[in-house]
């Protein structure tokens, strides 16, 4: 019975909502509010079920492929997520490396500094970013102080990248830190002993051994960034095309629930591949016991 509990929990909070959204995505488009056809006519029994399934179609999905807006939003989301993941790797790796190599006292302080912002509301932090990036904000004040600027960052793609990188940095750094910190120091000594300079030892030993962390960090950032809504909405301005925003617009502005559901389902299936990859990576790490 106890073993069934998580299963029931998943059914209730994951499978059921998923089926609801899946059904919606296959329904006919209609303005305003539910119910959306087809509906199950319980009184007709089996025949009612048959009519119900016959009424489901992929019409909405077909519309997604023909309307350039959806394709553009989809590609744009992938682009934002991919580039941000790249920037996060470039920033996060040296940070994680430094954390793994410094003295325990400094390491504790750095870890704390990394985690501390999480105790503040995410929204507040994004609003703080607006305060920094807006035309008359802190950034331009600082630039003006040294005789530069002003720059217009808010409501541009740059602002979205800044926001994404800022918000997801810990998710990149922590898995990287975990693998780097576990690495045996004697492996580097062995590499040096066998003729590697510290730089060569990094590329031949440290980096390949940290790849599971790179994969985990990249997927951990990439997956939620594709569907990110708040950051592009608040920092990117009205013209930003991203899936998260598209879904929101379809639901709340256009009231086209089937279209929003279809976009969500497409997003979900796009992310199934990296999610499965991530799960396998984690399983492998667990198996290796390291």
């Amino acid at each position: 019975m106890a073993a069934l509990a998580p299963f029931l929990w998943l059914c209730l909070f994951f499978l059921f909502p998923f089926l609801l959204v899946a059904k919606l995505s296959l329904s006919d488009t209609a303005l305003a509010i539910p119910p959306y056809t087809p509906r199950i006519d319980w009184s007709a029994g089996i025949a009612g079920l048959k009519t119900f399934f016959a009424g489901l179609d992929f019409e909405t999905y077909a519309r997604l492929t023909t309307d350039r807006l959806y394709v553009a939003a989809y590609l744009s989301s992938l682009k934002f997520a991919a580039i941000s993941t790249g920037i996060l790797l470039l920033l996060g790796y040296p940070l994680a490396y430094a954390m793994a190599r410094c003295t325990p006292a400094v390491r504790q302080a750095l870890l704390m500094a990394m985690i501390l912002p999480f105790w503040t509301s995410f929204l507040i932090r994004v609003y703080a970013l607006i305060g920094i990036l807006k035309p008359e904000g802190l950034l331009n004040a600082a630039l003006g102080f040294v005789g530069l600027g002003p720059v217009n960052v808010l409501n541009t793609e740059t602002a979205i990248y800044i926001g994404l990188v800022y918000a997801y940095l810990p998710f990149m750094v922590l898995p990287l830190y975990a693998v780097l910190e576990r690495q045996q120091h004697d492996l580097l000594e062995a590499a040096a002993d066998l003729g590697c300079t510290p730089f060569q030892a990094f590329w031949r030993v440290t980096f390949p051994l940290s790849l599971p962390g790179v994969a985990a960090g990249a997927l951990l950032c990439f997956i939620p960034m594709v569907g990110e809504f708040v950051i592009p909405d608040l920092l990117g301005g009205s013209s930003t095309l991203m899936l998260g925003k598209t879904i929101w617009t379809e639901f709340f502005a256009n009231r086209d629930w089937p279209a929003a559901s279809a976009v969500a389902i497409v997003l979900l299936f796009t992310l199934v591949v990296p999610i499965v990859l991530y799960q396998r990576q984690q399983a492998k790490l667990m198996e290796a016991g390291r």
Binding site: Q184, D186, L187, E189, A190, A191, A192, D193, L194, G195, C196, T197, Q200, R204, V205, P208, L209, L211, A288, R290
Partner: protein, 387 residues
């Protein structure tokens, strides 16, 4: 260190023709000169001077914390000496980073690269030397055959047994043909049987390659079996350097006598010494001790006599009175199969260890618990120690 010249010393398994250290014209491969290394004020290596010669199998032996590993790491380049000099083949190693030193180390943890297969682990150093691909392949194959790992080339380290990993570590360290191989407790992680086998394999390998091996160990048996010479270390200093039989049969201090093998140490006062014999009075033996010893001792000076258990005979019948004779009672018997160890309580209350090889399967009257026994040993069985 005093070099003792005992003409009758049984030099055991030592290669009697190989003794470059005794040749004043020979130049050492490695030379430590007054090397000092401190860590946070703790002196790990305290003024060590040591010569190791080409082709030698040299052992640094001592308890943990005696500085033996630090000494090896100074040679590998992982530590830099605070003062003193380390030279290799005449070249001062100061300022030379580990990757530019022609020595390779086999780590106690093996430190195999977990992401690389066996063959790529072995090829690691060769690649770093810029060796051609086909040459690497043939060298790796040669190494795999040498350590009997053919067929496991594509395994990853975690798919190997402890013994196999040990061989990979060994092959990886010797593959670049270093001037010297450093072995840091190479057999510590193996079980007893495998360890004994591997000791002999290491010796055979060293002979075959003609390479100089430096082994660090706390296991005296490992050092005795494998090494041409042993340096016994204590608190950052070398207490004695010698062939295994030298340090066993002619230790220069109570510390060495006690560290290597079992020993009974009797305290006494010198009554007479003429350069061939020393006579000592002792509370342990009514007849005193009579020992062949060329050291001159001052009359009245305190000295210690060290006698190994296997050199003490156990008698059930009372031998004629005289020196080197003690009476006691069997307190405990340890039967090891090949050997039997007797713990004998002397009349003075001291417990003495005597050992006897079980050369025969049957004896008329075995020594039993609580038997009254007499212990004797020959005049050349013990060593007189003054420190």
């Amino acid at each position: 260190m005093t070099e003792r010249s005992r003409p009758r010393l049984n030099i055991g398994a030592v290669r009697s023709t190989f003794a470059p250290w005794a040749d004043p014209a020979a130049t050492p491969l490695v030379r430590f000169e007054n090397v000092v290394k401190r860590f946070d004020g703790e002196t790990a290596v305290d003024g060590v001077s040591l010569d190791i010669y080409q082709g030698e199998f040299f052992a640094l032996l001592g308890p943990s914390g005696c500085g033996k590993t630090t000494l090896m790491r100074l040679l590998a380049g992982f530590e830099t000496p605070d003062s003193g000099r380390v030279t290799l083949a005449g070249e001062d190693l100061a300022g030379k980073p580990p990757h530019r030193r022609p020595v390779n180390m086999m780590f106690q943890s093996y430190a195999l690269f977990p992401h690389l297969s066996v063959e790529r682990n072995i090829a690691f150093g060769l690649k770093q030397q810029g060796m051609a691909k086909d040459e690497i392949a043939s060298r790796v194959a040669e190494m795999l055959a040498l350590v009997r790992l053919d067929g496991l080339a594509r395994r990853k380290p975690h798919q190997l047994s402890g013994g196999q990993r040990q061989r990979v570590a060994l092959a990886r360290a010797i593959a670049p043909r270093p001037k010297m191989l450093l072995l840091d407790e190479p057999l510590a992680a193996l079980d007893k049987k495998l360890r004994e086998e591997t000791q002999f394999e290491l010796m055979a390998l060293q002979q075959q390659l003609g390479m100089t091996f430096l082994i660090v160990t706390h296991d005296q048996e490992e050092a005795m079996v494998t090494a041409d010479r042993i340096a016994v270390m204590r608190a950052g200093q070398i207490v004695q350097i010698g062939r295994p039989a030298d340090v066993y049969e002619a230790p220069n201090s109570r510390y060495v006598a006690d560290f290597i093998g079992d020993v009974n140490i009797f305290e006494g006062t010198a009554q007479f010494a003429d350069g061939t014999t020393v006579r000592m009075a002792s509370a342990e033996a009514p007849g005193g001790f009579d020992v062949i010893e060329d050291d001159l001792l001052e009359v009245g000076a305190t000295a210690w006599l060290a006698v190994r258990p296997e050199k003490i005979e156990v008698h059930l019948d009372e031998p004629p009175p005289g020196p080197n004779r003690m009476a006691g009672k069997i307190e405990d018997i340890g039967y090891l199969g090949d050997w039997t160890t007797y713990l004998v309580e002397l009349e003075s209350g001291r417990t003495i260890r005597a050992a006897r090889a079980n050369a025969k399967r049957f004896v008329d009257r075995p020594v039993d618990w609580d038997d009254k026994v007499w212990l004797t040993f020959a005049r050349d069985a013990g060593v007189v120690l003054t420190q």
